[in-house]
């Protein structure tokens, strides 16, 4: 990543002859286009991961068809929240790994665990150089009958669990998962649980939109649904005349 800095020539009698020109800032200081929560749960036949398709530009919901769930190889899926361009960069890294396996063609393939650990090394290394990839990644998959679900954050924190979330999902979805998740849920039960959490996120997370995708990874393969809308209910009495109890401009 370090290239040669160009030398800027100055008059030979100046005190700054041949100084280094200031190069471009190559460190990610803050995110620009971001994705919000990603949710993941293990169920009977594999792993379900869900996210909406919004790309926010600060407080503006600017892009509404951003695919934040991507398959990597046959066994693994990565979902990302945070800076979308950094996610795209991560996908190129993982793509190289998958391609390497494909070229070897020796029956050995990366498992979700391998990819998770690789990404942890990358995220942690970049964080140590004060040049982070501004993402929280959810990695899930099934290989050799083993269901895998894990998270890596932008500072390189890594863990696995039966249900995970990133961003606001940690505050709004995880409590629901803790109450209602159990081992060996069916596909229907799992999807319903995710949709319940996604609905809550749509109601309460200002960066979320009502256009979501749910990905299902099983031993047979990976299936990412087309984006669809959640059922919402705005007919609650409290929503009518919302300012009735709070007169004033504050």
């Amino acid at each position: 990543m370090t290239g040669k800095q160009p030398y800027v020539g100055q008059a030979l009698d100046s005190p700054h002859a041949f100084t280094l020109a200031p190069g471009p800032t190559k460190h990610t200081q803050y995110p620009y286009v971001t994705g919000t929560s990603v949710l993941g749960i293990k169920y009977k036949d594999g792993v379900l991961i869900a996210a909406d398709t919004a790309g926010s530009y600060g407080s503006t919901v600017r892009y509404k068809s951003v695919e934040r769930l991507k398959p990597c190889g046959k066994h693994c899926l990565i979902g990302a929240s945070g800076e979308i361009s950094d996610f795209q960069q991560i996908l190129t890294y993982v793509d190289k790994l998958i391609l390497n396996d494909y070229m070897w063609d020796d029956g050995n393939n990366l498992s979700p665990r391998d990819i998770h650990n690789y990404l942890t090394r990358v995220m942690y290394n970049k964080r140590n150089n004060f040049d982070p990839l501004w993402n929280t990644l959810v990695i899930g998959g099934v290989k050799n009958g083993e269901k895998y679900l894990g998270v890596v954050t932008m500072i390189g924190v890594q863990f696995e669990d039966n249900h995970v979330a990133s961003g606001f999902g940690n505050h709004l979805a995880r409590p629901i998962f803790r109450d209602e998740w159990h081992e060996n849920m069916t596909l229907e039960e799992g999807t319903q649980l995710l949709e319940k959490a996604l609905t809550v996120l749509y109601y309460r997370d200002r960066s979320a939109i009502n256009k979501v995708q749910v990905a299902n990874i099983t031993a047979e393969g990976i299936n990412i649904s087309e984006p669809y809308a959640l059922k919402t209910n705005w007919e609650y009495k409290a929503f009518k005349n919302p300012t009735a109890g709070a007169v004033g401009s504050w």
């Binding site: 070897w104 063609d105 020796d106 029956g107 050995n108 393939n109 990366l110 498992s111 665990r113 391998d114 650990n117 690789y118 090394r121 050799n144």
Partner: protein, 282 residues
């Protein structure tokens, strides 16, 4: 193998299209004491002949653990072998650090082969003078490979390298059909019988041979002397084989001499689904 005017430099071709220095390096492997490897559906066994040049001398270490799932036996310049095993251990541990999973055997073998090839194409280097039998397991099962000083590598069901390896090879050729279904103990017995062939008239004891086993769910382990002696004693109960006559090795070619059941070089056992990989050009 006679001296000629094209053998001074490793980077000089002979008019017959041979690199004599590389072939001389393979000769060094043939002079080393024998190393034998064989595999079944679940395990791979490595055995070595440990010849000490004098009674006062302790035996050279020829079996090395590379990782929990890979080990090697060497024949030839064991000093070169130690350097290669340090490289292999380093590669395994680096892979483990990044991926937290074991480096597939076949990929490690190719790394070693590529390293060896470099030494056949630089005028300021010399080829490694050691042949390796690499035994290991990965996702696709147990494997046995041979690494040559030439930079070639081959996968085998069973093989032997080093001096008087032909005797062992003859035994293996006779019996390899049964190896796939062998249990761990049966495989070890076959390995020890093969070592016996290489030892010829000498008696097989736990002090003139070495043994190591690796398998699926079975970490690479060099068998200690007591257990080894127990295995040797159990051989007495099995039927004795007639010792095969030692044969002259074929004159060396750039690829190794008389080979045994060579699988597609560079290839790996094909999994149940999908086609096998295309064999690499030799």
């Amino acid at each position: 193998m006679f001296r000629n005017q094209y053998d001074t430099d490793v980077t000089t071709w002979s008019p017959a299209g041979r690199l004599h220095q590389v072939e001389y390096a393979m000769e060094a492997v043939k002079q080393g004491s024998a190393a034998i490897g064989l595999r079944s559906k679940t395990h791979v066994v490595l055995a070595t002949v440990n010849k000490a040049s004098s009674e006062l001398l302790s035996h050279q270490k020829k079996l090395f653990k590379i990782d929990n799932h890979i080990g090697i036996a060497m024949a030839g310049l064991t000093a070169d072998g130690r350097v290669l095993s340090r490289y292999m251990r380093s590669e395994c541990i680096n892979h483990n650090f990044v991926y937290e999973s074991p480096l597939p055997v076949g990929r490690l073998v190719v790394k070693v082969a590529d390293k060896a090839q470099v030494c056949t194409q630089r005028s300021w280097k010399r080829p490694y003078g050691v042949g390796l039998l690499v035994a290991g397991t990965d996702e696709t099962g147990p494997h046995l490979y041979q690494n040559c000083p030439s930079g070639n590598y081959f996968e085998y069901q069973a093989f032997a390298i080093g001096s008087r390896s032909q005797a062992a090879k003859t035994y293996l050729e006779r019996k390899y059909g049964t190896f796939m279904e062998c249990t761990k103990e049966e495989l070890i017995r076959h390995a020890l019988f093969a070592v016996k062939e290489s030892l010829q008239e000498e008696e097989l004891t736990s002090s003139n041979c070495g043994l190591a086993v690796v398998g699926i769910d079975d970490k690479f382990e060099i068998v200690d002397q007591k257990k080894l002696q127990a295995y040797i004693d159990s051989l007495e109960d099995a039927t004795k084989e007639e010792p095969a006559a030692a044969e002259e090795d074929q004159p060396a070619h750039v690829e190794a001499g008389a080979l045994l059941v060579r699988e597609s070089s560079g290839g790996v056992e094909i999994p149940a689904d999908g086609d096998g990989p295309a064999p690499m050009e030799t």
